[in-house]
Every structure is written in structure tokens, then in C-alpha cells.
Assembly symmetry: C2
Homo-oligomer: 356 residues x 2
Amino acid sequence: MKTTALIMAGGRGERFWPRSRKERPKQFLSLTNDGKTMIQLTVERILPLVDMEDIYIATNKAYMPLVMEQLPGIPKENILCEPVGRNTAPCIGLGAMHISGKMEDAVMFVLPSDHLIKDGEGFRNVLRKACSVAEQGDNLVTIGITPNYPETGYGYIKFIKDEKTGDSCKVDRFVEKPSPEVAKEYLSTGEYLWNSGMFIWKVSTVLDKFKDYLPDTYKGLLRIRDSIGSADQDAVLNEVFPGLESISVDYGIMEKAESIYTIPGDFGWDDVGSWLAVERIGERDENGNILAGNAVNIGSRDCIIQAEDKLIAAVGLKDIVIVDTEDATLVCDKGSTADIKKVLEELRQEGKEKYL
Amino acid sequence: MKTTALIMAGGRGERFWPRSRKERPKQFLSLTNDGKTMIQLTVERILPLVDMEDIYIATNKAYMPLVMEQLPGIPKENILCEPVGRNTAPCIGLGAMHISGKMEDAVMFVLPSDHLIKDGEGFRNVLRKACSVAEQGDNLVTIGITPNYPETGYGYIKFIKDEKTGDSCKVDRFVEKPSPEVAKEYLSTGEYLWNSGMFIWKVSTVLDKFKDYLPDTYKGLLRIRDSIGSADQDAVLNEVFPGLESISVDYGIMEKAESIYTIPGDFGWDDVGSWLAVERIGERDENGNILAGNAVNIGSRDCIIQAEDKLIAAVGLKDIVIVDTEDATLVCDKGSTADIKKVLEELRQEGKEKYL
């Protein structure tokens, strides 16, 4: 069966402010030192398994020019513009409908556009295994990441140890972000994986699940499908999509359906969820710092400094993140990176839209 | 007797980097919100006691244009340019020789150009008292600041409690910057004052002391005096001054001479020795922060943020100093402000002279 992919690239990436901005969120930035952006790396990573013409990018209209600029090989009609963000279920449904309009059936990878993966071949091996599971019956497959520390920022997947076939495990249930104690417990049982947000299924299977569990959404998606290629395509999308229920595929389908499998993966995955990820990706100096750009450090330890041309002098700091850009500088305690979004709220309230 | 003043303005003010630079040190900056620079405030403060034409500014050649720009009322011949810095004794000797060339004798105030004083009238009252003591015999008078906490960054003056006449006290000795324990002890005795570096004496008296305690310096100063007003003035200064011993007036004269008096003062003095002074000068918000310029704060406490036009976002910080300028940003732990000079050393070593 043919393999296709839907890459979800509509996120705003606020946690990477001030480097990420409304008009250029995280997936369109390079956070590695190869100069490639996150979305370019995401596409490059699956090209051995999927033809360029079978890769779909779901994003919002504002990012269309960025997608075209950064991924010139993707056919223009494969760039799906959501009129508004409606969480992952409608996004995935839109992608599935586009694919189903082009071919009888296909395996569909659903991938975030802003995760990093160190071991590309290891990742593809997991995808290959996932394909063979997804091709059978109405299996829904999710990639679970073998956890190596008790992260509290991720959801977890509990699998059933006794129901392991080859490399795939039957999923017992999905659980929300745990407390530190619970996360430690999860790790100790060996029955929990990190929920990576990557899915593999047949287009026909996932559309059946929409029909079963999200019937209203399914009806809307059918109306959209019928308009694809017609003169009304944009008008129908703009009319129907905003009315679809905003719900995640995890909550709308995965937690309700049977036949959920997970393939545990260990391929250097990172969801790059905050500036702290820079430490996991990069090389620390002898004092635990990650320094980039025009920076001078006197006695600071365990800091992340992302300077550009302007000189940043760090003196005697501990566990501080400094990110400089043309018009804004962030100085943030490592324990407070979740509050970066409050900066954006404050800026909105003060009418300082230009910094968003 | 006529009153004159020598304002010492040759310092580099490295501790106020990056706002202070080689070409514009602290005394030429405004650190208060009245827009006036430190040296302008220094002159303004003594104008009720000293005629503008009797105020002398000792500085180095590079700052001559700044002095002329900021203090247009000072006669050009009163701006004394030291070819090189030689600490306070040669600087004061140079000033005394210039004054002695113009008038028979005079009282001379010697004042730093980069201190802040909240109560100007209180300060002038102390100067008035100091004048009357300095006019008698060969008294040397220094202003001692009544300490209100055990500061370890200042030298102290020990006075003799039993030898108090009116408001002036006989000085027992000068002591170096103490340890925290010793500073506390000093405070508890009530016999120690902070050494403010402000002196009052007759020109004739201080020149006599140079003759007694720094005879080689005195001889050099005489050669300089003989050239004042002649075509050779600059040439002689440039030849003689660099050869004078580099020594402070405290060490060269005050610690050796008899008849040293101090007038204790309590007029809201601050030597503005580091960025931490901003807290003593300014108003803190309810979280103990001092914010200036285009700054957004989310949850930071006890921070000093001196932004300019560029947005500075501080998130979850504690006891951090952030100072932004056009081409450099300092982020410094409050406990490490003494290490700011190491930044300058590092920049020098890296050949990044443009930031100095």
C-alpha cells in the first residue's frame, strides 16, 4: 500500500519567543547548527519512505509563503491551509480527506513539524514497523518514546506488557502529564512510553473512526472533500472548517477506539518544547553553558545564551536563559520557561503587537 | 577667603559598563531621572558657594569635549587635562598649582564628579563648616559620611571621640575596606565614618603638604606651574606629569599629615560605585524591582532592569541586573557586579575594543 504523510505545521510555537514570532513560528526556524529548519528536517527525514508528491502540509494561511519557500518540492495543492486552528482532529481529518480524494487507500503518517530526531534511520525503522501494523485490520498506531527520565511535560502511553507482538504493543490507555512522583512511578514500571504525537494508520481506517466517534466532524469533512478541486474549494473550507469541533485526535479518537497499538522508539527524539531543549540538543561547555553568537561569559554556569550580532555579557549567572533578537531580548530563569507565554499575553494587553 | 573647587573627572567608571564606555564614563552619564549628568549635578550643587569661574575640572584629554559640552559655563582654561591618570595626589597638586597661580590663597574643595547627593543644602552646610575649619592653621579637612549600614566597599575614617570641637572631629586614622565582621564592629563603636574622598583645605596648606610628604611631586608641580599661560604649557605638562608618582592623596598626604579633621555628614550621599546603587537612588516596585525603559517583567523580584528602546522581557528572575545599550547587553547577578571589569578585560583580549 502506498505511504503518504501529513505534516502538521500550524502551531505558533510561543514558547520559543522571542526567536519564534507570530509570522515565523518554531517549525520554520533552525534550532540545530546545520542551518535547516525544523520542518525541512521533518520532510527530509521521511523522504526515503514517502514520495515528495505524497507529503501534505497542514498549516494556516499566514504560513503558506514560508512553506513554499522552505519546501519548494511540495506540490502547491498539498499545502492545506486551515482557516483557523481547530486542534489536531479536524486537521488530520482534512489531510485524510485530501489523500482519499487522490487514491483508493494509503498508509498515512501523521507527524508534527517541530520535533527533532537524532537517529533518522532508527526513526524510519520504527515507521516501517508501524506501517506493517497499520496495514492490518483497523489498527491505529502511535509511536511511543522509551522514556529515559521522569519528564512531567509529556503525556504518557500505557501499554499492555503481555500483549506484545514483535515490536508492537497493544495500548492500554493514554494518560495526561503526570506529577513528578507519578512520572517516576511510570518510569519504574517499564510499561509507560512518552506520547510523541506521531500516528500511523490507513486513511480508510482513520476516516471510519471519524465517522464512529466524531460524526459531525466527519460530515463537515465530507462537504470539504466534495469541494476539493472545484471553484468553491476555498469558500467551502472557510465556511465549514471553523465550525468543526476543536478537539485533539488523542481525545477525540485514540482514547475511544479499540485496536490501538504503539511501537516503542528510541531514536533521540525531542519535542523541543521549550528553550531548555537547546541543552539536550547542543554541546555544553565545561561550565554547563550553551553559548551561541556574540556572547562573553564571566563565571556563569548552566546557562543557555543565544546571542546574535549584539554583544551579550553574562556575569555570575546560574540557570538563566538569554535569547537575543533584533528587537527583543528574553532573560528567563530556567524554572520559569513556561511563563514565557505570559510575556506574550502582557505584550498583547499593552498593544505591543509588533513583538508577538 | 575665596572658595574654589577642583572636580576630579578623569575616572573610567568601568563598573557602569555597558552604559559607561571609554569615551563616555559614568560622570558624563545621567543616572537620575532629571536628565542631568553626574558632573552637571556636582557643579550645580556647589554653585551657591563657588563662582563658576573658580571651578576647575581635572580630566583627561579625551573627555575635554564632553566637559565643554556638559559644562559650558566653566572657563576653558579651568579644564585641566591630565596626559595620563596618576591617581588623586598629582591631580590635586595640578589643581592647587593652577589656583595658586591665579590668587594669593583660597579654600579649595576637592570633589569627585561621580557621586550623588540627595540633600544638596545639607551637603553645603557641611562644606561651610569644613571651610571654617580649613581656614585655620594648616588643617586638612575630609568629609566623613555617617554610615547607616556595614558597607564593605568603602574605606573608613576613625575619629577621636574625645576631640570633637563643634561639628568637626580630629581624625585618628584612615582604614582600608573592612571585612563584613570588621565593618559591623566599626558601625557599633560610633567612631567610624565612611571615607567620601571629598577634601577641603587651603591651597597654601595642601601645597605645603606636597612639599613635606611628596617632595619630588612638588618639584614637578612647580615646573608645571611656571609654564602655565606660556606657549610651553602643554609641552611641560606632557613631559612632567607622566613622571609623577602615581599615588592617592589619602596615602600620600592624609595618612601622614597631622591636623586632619573630619566633618561628619548625613546628606544622602552615594558613591554610585556599581549598578546596585540604582536601587538606592530609585523607587522599587512592589516586587523590589527597578525597571526603566521598554521592559516587561513576569514574576521577577529584586531585579534592576535598565532597558532602552529594545524590549527586555524578564521572566522569573531574582537579584539580576540587566542593562541594555545600542550594541551590548549586560546580564549580571547582583552578587557579581565586581566582575563586570572582567568582561572588559575579556573584550580587550578578544580585540573587541569597540565595546569598551
